[in-house]
C-alpha cells in the first residue's frame, strides 16, 4: 500500500550530491513530491528532506541504496506520525486589494503575516502543512495572486535519539 514517507538524508557537501541522491529515486521510477536541502546543524553536513508516496518495502530499499552512496552519511525514513513538519509559502498580491476588507479577514483567519508592503504589492507569508498553504492560496486567488512560491517540506523527528546520536558521531 502506498503512503506518504518523509526521507531525511545527511550528506557531505560535495558537487553533484543532489544528483547522487535523486538518481536513486529516478532509477526506481519514483516521483519526488518535494525536496529541500540545506546545511544542517553540523557545519559541512547537508540535510535533504524528501517527500514521496510509495510502499514501505520500496522505501526501505531506497534507504539502503541511499546509504550506499559514498558521500551519504545517513538516511532515515519516517511516516507522517513520526515527524513534525512544516512548509513556508509566500504570496504576492497587489497592495490595493487590501482596501477590500475581505483580504484582511483572510490573512487573519489563516494566521498569515505580512512580510513587506510596497506601494505596488505586498508579500504575505504563511507557514503550515501543504494543505494549509494551499488553502490560503485558494482564498487569495479571487483577489489576484501575482506570485506564489512554496518551499518543500522541512521536518524534524519526534523521537530524536537516533538522529542526534548519529550526528554526534561525526
Amino acid at each position: 500500500m502506498k503512503k506518504t514517507y518523509t526521507v531525511s538524508v545527511f550528506t557531505e557537501n560535495s558537487i553533484g550530491m543532489m544528483n547522487r541522491v535523486t538518481i536513486i529515486f529516478t532509477r526506481r521510477h519514483l516521483n519526488i513530491d518535494s525536496i529541500t536541502a540545506s546545511e544542517s546543524e553540523v557545519p559541512g553536513v547537508f540535510r535533504y528532506t524528501i517527500v514521496l508516496r510509495t510502499t514501505k518495502a520500496q522505501i526501505e530499499k531506497v534507504i539502503g541504496q541511499l546509504e550506499k552512496v559514498i558521500d551519504v552519511i545517513k538516511a532515515f525514513v519516517h511516516e507522517e506520525n513520526d515527524i513534525v513538519h512544516q512548509e513556508i509559502a509566500l504570496y504576492k498580491i497587489r497592495t490595493e486589494t487590501l482596501t477590500n476588507g475581505d483580504v484582511e479577514k483572510v490573512i487573519r483567519k489563516h494566521h498569515a503575516r505580512v512580510l513587506t508592503v510596497d506601494s505596488q504589492f505586498m508579500v504575505i507569508e504563511k507557514t503550515g502543512h501543504v494543505e494549509e498553504t494551499q488553502l490560503l492560496f485558494e482564498k487569495l486567488r479571487p483577489y489576484g495572486v501575482l506570485e506564489f512560491a512554496r518551499s518543500g517540506r522541512v521536518a524534524v523527528t519526534k523521537p530524536m535519539k537516533e538522529l542526534s546520536a548519529y550526528l554526534e558521531e561525526i
Binding site: 553533484g16 538518481i23 539502503g64 552519511i73 561525526i170
Partner: protein
C-alpha cells in the same frame, strides 16, 4: 629547493604509490599530459594499448578478477570517456574494483560544449561506486587515494576520476597519503556474534541444509574458510554464475550451478531444503526465478557485506551484514560436525536424471554435429579444470558454467549481471596480465566475438598469450532459443553471417584453425593449448542446440525443465 610536480606526474606517482603495475588505456587530447608523464614509467608500469576504450574496461575487469587487485584504465574526454560506460556498468553490477582516469577539457571550458567535452561524471554517476571531477592540481593525489580505497574496500566497484587538462598541467608539491577512512563510508561491518549464533542454531537443527555461494567468497578471499565450514557442517554447496571457482567443483559436497540454466538438482533442492544459507550472493532474478515461490519452506540465512542486499529480494530470517571470511570463520566454530548422506543422495539422484535426459535428447537431435557442451567438457578434461576460463554472453556462457569443472579460485571470468556481449575477448587479455602463469581461455560465440574483435590488435601489439575458442553456430543462439520456445520460431534477425575468422586472426598474426568434425576436436584443442602464443580455434557447432535445464521466465526454481 623542492621540485615541483605537474598534475600529470602526480597521477603517475600516485599510481606507483598504489602499487599499480598495469594500465589499460587509450590516449587522446585531454589526457595527453598524463600519457606524457606515463612515458617515463615504461620500465615500472605496463601500459596495454587497447583498440577501443570499452576493451580497456573489460581488460581491466579481467585483470582485477584474476589478480584480486584493482584494474586501472586511462581514457580521454568525450568519446573516450563515453566508451567506458558499458564496462563501468558491467563492473558495477559484478562488483569489480576499477579505477578509471579520464582526461577532461580545461576547467575554464567546462559547460561550453568544448571539443570532446562530455559530462562523464554526470553520465557515470549511477554506474560507478563513486566518481569525482578534479579541477585543481593539488587535489589529484587525495582523489586517487580515495578512489583506490573505495574501489577495493567493502563491496568492490568501479570508480571514475575526471581530471581537467589544466589540473594535469598545473604544478604542486607532491605528497601522497593513502586513504584509510572516509567518515561517511563504513566498508567493514562489525561482526554481530549474536546473529551468527542464531544462524548456527538453525544450521545445527537443520535436516536438509543448503548453502548458496556467490562471488563474495572470492572477493573476501574466504575460499579456505568456506571449505572448512562446508566440510565440518556437511552442507551441500551450490554456486551462482560468478561464484563458480570459489569452491572446487570436484568436491563431493559440490551440488552444482544455480539459476535459469543451472543444474537440475541445484535448483530443485532450493525449494526442498529446510535451511538456506546464502553467502556473498545477491539473489539475482536469474537465480531465483519467481521470488514468490522461492525457498518459501526454508529458514533463510543471508550473509553479505552490502547491507542493502539483505532483504532486497528474499527476506532473511537471519540477515547478517558481514564480511564472508569473518562470518565463515566464526560460523565454522559454532556449527556441529555433521553428515547429511540421505540429503546428499537426493542431489545425486537428480543429477543422474539430468545427465540421462539431456544426453538422450541431444544425442537424438544432433548426431553428427559437434555440440557446444562437448567442446566445453573436453576442454575441462584436458585442462583439469585449472585454466582461467573467460566467457562472453549467451548459450556458450551457460554451457561453460555448467560443464567446465572449475577447481581453482578466480578462474571464472564472465559478465554476469550486465550480460555484456563482447566482454570475453578484452577480458581474457586482461585476465592473462592478471595471472600471467595461468592458461587463459576465452570461450566466445560468433556474435559476441564480433562486438569487440578489434582487440585482436591488442593481442598482436602486446604479444599476450591467450587461447580463443569461437563456438560458431551461425546464430545469436540464446535469443534464437527464446524465439524457438516463446516466439513460435520466428527467427527475427538472429542468424549471423560471419567473416572468415581464420583469415581474420591471421591478419593479426594470430595462429588459427577451424574445426568442423568431431574427430579433429581433441587434437585441435591440444594444438591450441600447446601453441606458444595466442591461438584462435573456431569450432563449427550445431546450429540449433538449446541450453537445458531451463527455468523459463516467471517459473519457479522447482519447475526447472530438462527439455
Amino acid at each position: 629547493m623542492t621540485t615541483k610536480t605537474t598534475g600529470a606526474q602526480a597521477v603517475m606517482k600516485s599510481l606507483v604509490a598504489e602499487q599499480v603495475d598495469t594500465i589499460f588505456g587509450y590516449p587522446g587530447g585531454a589526457i595527453m599530459p598524463i600519457y606524457d608523464a606515463l612515458y617515463d614509467y615504461e620500465d615500472t608500469i605496463k601500459h596495454i594499448l587497447v583498440r577501443h576504450e570499452q576493451g580497456a574496461t573489460h581488460a581491466a575487469q579481467g585483470y582485477a578478477r584474476t589478480s584480486g587487485k584493482t584494474g586501472v584504465v586511462f581514457a580521454t574526454s568525450g568519446p573516450g570517456a563515453t566508451n567506458l560506460i558499458t564496462g563501468l556498468a558491467d563492473a558495477m553490477i559484478d562488483s569489480t574494483p576499477l579505477v578509471c582516469i579520464t582526461g577532461q577539457v580545461d576547467s575554464k571550458l567546462l559547460g561550453t560544449d568544448a571539443f570532446q567535452e562530455t559530462d562523464v561524471v554526470g553520465i557515470s554517476m549511477p554506474i560507478t561506486k563513486w566518481n569525482t571531477q578534479v579541477t585543481r592540481v593539488e587535489d589529484i593525489p587525495a582523489a586517487i587515494a580515495k578512489a583506490f580505497y573505495i574501489a577495493k574496500s567493502g563491496r568492490p566497484g568501479p570508480v571514475l576520476i575526471d581530471i581537467t587538462k589544466d589540473a594535469q598541467f598545473g604544478e604542486m608539491e607532491f605528497q601522497y597519503e593513502k586513504c584509510t577512512t572516509i567518515r561517511s563510508y563504513r566498508p567493514k561491518p562489525k561482526l554481530n556474534k549474536t546473529l551468527l549464533e542464531e544462524a548456527a542454531i538453525l544450521i545445527n537443527k537443520a535436516k536438509k541444509p543448503y548453502l548458496l555461494i556467490g562471488q563474495g567468497i572470492m572477493l573476501s578471499n574466504a575460499e579456505q574458510e568456506l571449505l572448512n565450514f562446508v566440510e565440518k557442517s556437511g552442507i551441500p554447496v551450490a554456486s551462482t554464475l560468478l561464484g563458480l571457482g570459489a569452491f572446487p567443483n570436484h568436491h563431493p559436497l559440490y551440488a552444482g550451478y544455480l539459476g535459469m540454466h543451472g543444474d537440475y538438482a541445484a535448483n530443485i533442492k532450493t525449494n526442498e531444503c529446510d535451511v538456506l544459507v546464502a553467502i556473498g550472493m545477491r539473489f539475482d532474478d536469474r537465480v531465483t526465478g519467481d521470488v514468490s515461490r522461492y525457498a518459501k519452506q526454508a529458514k533463510v540465512i543471508h550473509v553479505d557485506i552490502d547491507a542493502a542486499e539483505l532483504n532486497k529480494i528474499i527476506n532473511a530470517d537471519v540477515g547478517i551484514h558481514a564480511d564472508a571470511k569473518e562470518a565463515l570463520t566464526l560460523l565454522t566454530e559454532l556449527v556441529h560436525q555433521k553428515e547429511h548422506s540421505t540429503w546428499l543422495q537426493e542431489f545425486r539422484d537428480l543429477k543422474k536424471v539430468e545427465v540421462e535426459t539431456l544426453q538422450k535428447s541431444t544425442d537424438e537431435a544432433f548426431n553428427d554435429e559437434i555440440k557446444m557442451d562437448e567442446v566445453i567438457k573436453m576442454l575441462s578434461e584436458i585442462t583439469n579444470g585449472e585454466a582461467v576460463v573467460v566467457t562472453d554472453v549467451g548459450q556458450h556462457q551457460m554451457l561453460t558454467a555448467r560443464y567446465y569443472e572449475y577447481n581453482k579460485t578466480k578462474s571464472n571470468i564472465t559478465s554476469g549481471g550486465l550480460g555484456t556481449m563482447g566482454f570475453a575477448l578484452p577480458a581474457a587479455i586482461g585476465a592473462k596480465f592478471g595471472a600471467p602463469k595461468k592458461t587463459v581461455i576465452a570461450i566466445i560465440g560468433d556474435g559476441g566475438f564480433q562486438m569487440t574483435l578489434q582487440e585482436l590488435g591488442t593481442i598482436l601489439q602486446s604479444e599476450v598469450n591467450i587461447k580463443i575458442v569461437i563456438l560458431n553456430n551461425r546464430f545469436l543462439g540464446m535469443v534464437r532459443q527464446w524465439q524457438q520456445m516463446f516466439f513460435e520460431k520466428r527467427y527475427s534477425f538472429t542468424n549471423m553471417v560471419s567473416p572468415n575468422f581464420i583469415a581474420l586472426a591471421q591478419a593479426y598474426s594470430i595462429s588459427a584453425k577451424k574445426v568442423e568434425y568431431r574427430e579433429e576436436l581433441k587434437e585441435s584443442l591440444l594444438k591450441m593449448l600447446n601453441h606458444k602464443g595466442s591461438f584462435l580455434l573456431e569450432v563449427m557447432v550445431a546450429k540449433e542446440e538449446n541450453v537445458f535445464p531451463m527455468i523459463t521466465t516467471g517459473a519457479s526454481v522447482s519447475e526447472v525443465r530438462l527439455n
